[in-house]
Symmetry: C2
Subunit: 338 residues, 2 copies
């Protein structure tokens, strides 16, 4: 079916070595020959076999991606950033979904390593405590880039958002709107983000001399819409005093809003709501949800850039140097807090 180096060599009466070298711009091939080869290659549309090349180069030009869920649109936007940036650089992306399960995450890492992807870009699940499967990646030639849900305990390149600031921004916004009893819907304190967002929330309460009431904090297993709904329901059924709600993901906020709407609790007049992620879905609810903006597409692109950076290092046989990018964040005000 496909044209091979051999075919080209025969046609141009040269050796496969020469063709290969010409295409790779080796200095010991004359300009004239290079030109001839390039012209012919373009004419017949030859494309080298990635798999055959792998045997020698150990490069698959594949990126493995592990996202924890598809329900949070934030990750979907990150994916599209990653895919488009990867494509620009001739990489293809194998997408996998851990569904917030540490077990599956471990398996997926194995699959991707076995595929010999050049790099794994991943966001941890909300239950990842055993970091050994992730550390294992570091023992291979495969690069590891963490995005959004990172861990400080793993030394690798990372992109994430200034989570502490996000937590603070959301809380401060509500305080300035006159709220005093700010409840919090968050995930378990496992990925670093949760911890930082929570610190941002708590520190800001202190800063404004509001007391922190643990009964106002509800903890979600998987940050889903359903969890948001159920937790909000519980808060109300337990008659917890609150005038506002900071939700650490947009799905949680959407779930909370669903309950609030169902119960016809006036929003924003008697309760205010802030989400995180500024997802399309959160902006389309009625009323629209005020949300902390995270540039998901940019995050995806930056993750790929970090990966490419590492590939360059490795090509020069240097140990890759790690870099952490912290993306800026801001608050988009909508009807749930006006």
């Amino acid at each position: 079916m496909g044209i091979t180096l051999k075919d080209i060599a025969k046609e141009l009466k040269l050796s496969t070595t020469t063709i290969s070298k010409a295409l790779q711009d080796y200095p010991d091939i004359s300009a004239k020959t290079k030109k001839k080869v390039h012209e012919y290659v373009k004419k017949v549309g030859y494309q080298p076999s990635v798999q055959a090349a792998y045997l020698r180069t150990k490069k698959t030009k594949l990126i493995g991606l592990i996202i924890p869920s598809t329900e949070n649109q934030f990750f979907i936007e990150v994916i599209s950033g990653i895919i488009s940036e990867a494509e620009k650089n001739d990489y293809s992306v194998i997408v996998t979904i851990s569904n917030e399960s540490q077990e599956r995450e471990k398996k997926l890492i194995q699959t991707l390593l076995n595929r010999k992807v050049d790099g794994i870009l991943m966001s941890l699940t909300a239950e990842t405590v055993d970091l050994s499967p992730i550390r294992e990646i570091m023992n291979t030639q495969t690069s590891l880039i963490l995005f959004d849900r990172i861990s400080k305990l793993i030394e690798c390149s990372k992109v994430h958002i200034d989570d502490k600031k996000m937590g603070a921004l959301a809380t401060e916004h509500l305080i300035k709107k006159g709220c005093k009893k700010i409840a919090n819907l968050r995930g378990r304190l496992i990925p670093q983000n949760s911890i930082d967002r929570f610190l941002g929330y708590k520190n800001t309460l202190e800063k404004y001399q509001l007391d922190f009431d643990p009964s106002r904090v509800a903890i979600s297993q998987n940050s889903s819409i359903e969890d948001g709904y159920e937790l909000t329901k519980k808060l109300f059924e337990h008659n917890i005093e609150l005038d506002s709600l900071v939700c650490f993901t947009d799905p949680l906020a959407i779930g909370a809003l669903k309950y609030i709407n169902e119960r016809k609790i006036p929003i924003p007049s008697s309760i205010k709501l802030v989400g995180f992620g500024n997802t399309l879905m959160g902006s389309l609810t009625n009323p629209g949800i005020t949300s902390i903006n995270q540039d998901a597409v940019l995050m995806g692109e930056q993750a790929v850039q970090l990966f490419l950076r590492e590939q360059k290092d490795r090509k020069l046989n240097k140990n890759p140097s790690f870099k952490t990018i912290v993306l800026k964040t801001d608050l988009i005000e909508r009807e749930t807090s006006k």
Copy 2:
């Protein structure tokens, strides 16, 4: 780094041939040897190199996926069906996004063919008229499976939903709720689905002796939320008489609802709305959008099943026989039509 057949052969004092055959269960290897090999392989966790195997088998165990957009959650759900079903059968999925551009679609097909994926599962863009790049797939060893946005002009396996019935179901539902002036937001009549949905709509109007008024039909370029908003706005600004709206995708319906909410037009009392796809996003709006249910996850799974079926045929050196699966559909009633 990784263990190779050679290593195992050396360790067990057998030839690589024997190891390879033992793992593939050839009849000319003794049961005793097979057992020994399997045990050792399990012990050391050997995994054959897919890329090396490709050179002889021409199988990459990769599926290429092309979806037209990430904005419509329907496709996201299809993706997760495809990924999970593929994984169960030891395939990995390269995900690409055509962004409703025929040009990009063409390029992506080339990339995937060059990657030598075993199959391409795709949903056409809303502007695909030139089918030659898609037909080209048929000339290769790569299987082609179309899902959702299919074309009757291409002979291959397909999964889609009974679009005519969907169009009819939505229209009939509104008629039974007393609507007489049913407007329609649809895409261009390019993928077969649009045509069929439109026929379902039109035929049902006739069936109930309501007249079809072309001015009530608004045509969207890319079935986006934005389009839904803008087209609905135009319908109202042009003072088109209507008491309800059938939107052929959920994003269109969400956009329409956004405008209706903004203008504070009472819904469902003065206007009713039906969407297509029954996406999570459409169910979470306020009011919730009545929508035609498409089992997106199942569609993804079935697409993979069709692909596996073809692979079996090809393995037996038979020309693959094509099969079309039409999924059932029903209507989920929510507040926009109650």
